[in-house]
């Protein structure tokens, strides 16, 4: 089967600094793929190139191909609006807008003035159900999203992506500001979401990668050193660097 995202000979420079060096891999549909590696290895850069959020940085340059749905999204003429609707992103810190819960979820629909058979209420309900928040929040949709706990806020940030119907969810260390219990519950949510979405997660937390992901990539100094089934990476890695990292010899 064709991978959902195919990365071929990807190089990326911030000015003169090369942050990604000849990355090649394929990310499978409806699987969780995690990317691990020490700080500054380029894992967030790799994640952010998948929805071209890196474009915000001046002096960025890329070469190679990233194929999503038969299109090379690195080409200059790429429709970034369509791409970002298809590839949603959850950030490190929960960052709901300081608006009501309802407004947070409908934000994407409003900017795309999307028409849909479902009414707004149905969309809100479905989105909140997908992130398992509906029962807790159904009676206070009009209260501020900032009154929620951090875990709920992060769930809401996932729910906010869903109305525009993405296929791929990118998560940039989504649990780094959460406590272990909340982290566990977000991981359960990821299992739930995997049924419908392709998920790529960047994480500092190796145990998390081992727990949640189907495939794991290990990055070091801009190179994707090893990419394989998670089980294989954590039990019998092929490369010496991978083994050193997962056994805690550095990083």
């Amino acid at each position: 089967m064709m991978p959902k995202i195919q990365i071929k000979n990807l190089n990326l420079w911030y000015g003169k600094f090369q942050a990604l060096i000849d990355v090649n891999t394929g990310i499978e549909e409806k699987k969780i793929t995690s990317i691990i590696g020490p700080s500054g290895c380029g894992k967030s850069t790799l994640l952010r190139v998948l929805n071209r959020m890196n474009d915000l940085i001046e002096g960025i340059k890329t070469s190679g191909e990233i194929i999503i749905g038969k299109e090379n999204i690195l080409l200059p003429g790429t429709d970034l609006i369509k791409l970002r609707k298809n590839v949603g992103m959850v950030f490190q810190r929960p960052n709901p807008f300081p608006l009501s819960i309802r407004k947070n979820i409908t934000f994407g629909l409003e900017i795309h003035s999307a028409r849909s058979k479902d009414t707004l209420d149905e969309i809100i309900e479905n989105s909140l159900k997908s992130v398992l928040l509906w029962d807790d929040l159904k009676d206070k949709l009009n209260s501020s999203a900032l009154e929620l706990t951090l875990e709920q806020q992060q769930r809401l940030c996932v729910a906010r992506l869903l109305p525009v119907k993405p296929e791929i969810l990118l998560m940039d260390e989504p649990c780094s500001s959460l406590d272990p219990i909340a982290t566990g519950r977000i991981e359960e949510l990821m299992f739930e979401l995997k049924k419908n979405y392709t998920i790529v997660i960047v994480t500092h937390n190796m145990q998390q990668a081992a727990r949640v992901s189907d495939d794991t990539g290990f990055m070091l100094l801009g190179k994707l050193v090893e990419f394989n089934k998670t089980e294989k990476i954590f039990t019998n890695p092929e490369k010496k660097e991978t083994e050193d990292y997962i056994t805690g010899r550095f990083g």
Binding site: L56, L83, K85, G88, F91, N95, G108, L161
Partner: protein, 281 residues
Amino acid sequence: MNSRVSQKIAFTVLFLSALVTILPVLLIIVVIVKNGISAISWEFLTAAPTNGMRSGGIFPAIVGTFYLALGATAISLPLGVMGGIYLSEYSKDNMFTRILKLGIVNLAGVPSIVYGLFGLSLFVIYLKFGVSLISGCLTLAIMELPSIITATQAALHSVPRSFREVSLSLGATKWQTIRHSVLPHALPGIITGAVLSNARITGETAPILFTVAAFYLPHLPSSVLDQVMALPYHLYVISTQIPGISKSTTYGTALVLIVFTLSLNLFGIILRTYLRRQKKW
């Protein structure tokens, strides 16, 4: 010298220096209120001047100043906000941007009488608006522009970067991002900045001297091409050109002007406090 003594001296000197800044404000208010309060009456506030401006009221001047403040802000607020958005969100750091920013700094530093002469030559003479409300509003608007642009930039800057990132990552265009997830959160700061800069230009005399202010005009303007009386200029006129005018009339006019600007300031400060309390990030 004993360190305890030097500490005492330093404290005293610093405290007195700080005190000096508040003293003029208090003195101005005390002197003006003391000399002017007796002139304030219903007639003074609602009637036109009579008897060579020695008696009657200052109503046309109050209305004139109100129109000028309103008109100047109506012009400079949209322009300044849009310019501020461009500079803060769109412009890249290049020669053109640096020249623009230099222009704003310099505009803020131009003496007010120069604005007056500029308004006279451009609006009154060249564009043939004549000495009129519209010329005065435009002149004051240009003067107000730098502070509104600066306030806009500062307010946009204070909106967290994550708001922009989230919005863009949801597929919004840059303009949608600014319109829906940046501007609404910057609005309180922008409005406050506008009110405060408005309070500042309300008391200006030089920019309106040649562009709008009427020496004596006992009725209200009927179009933007009419002249108006204005409080600062009226004050200048009655204190220098009208012999034998009672002291209380002059100070009464000053009192009205100062109450006008101080209440605008106060309104701005209350607005800022209120809106800041609404912000939660």
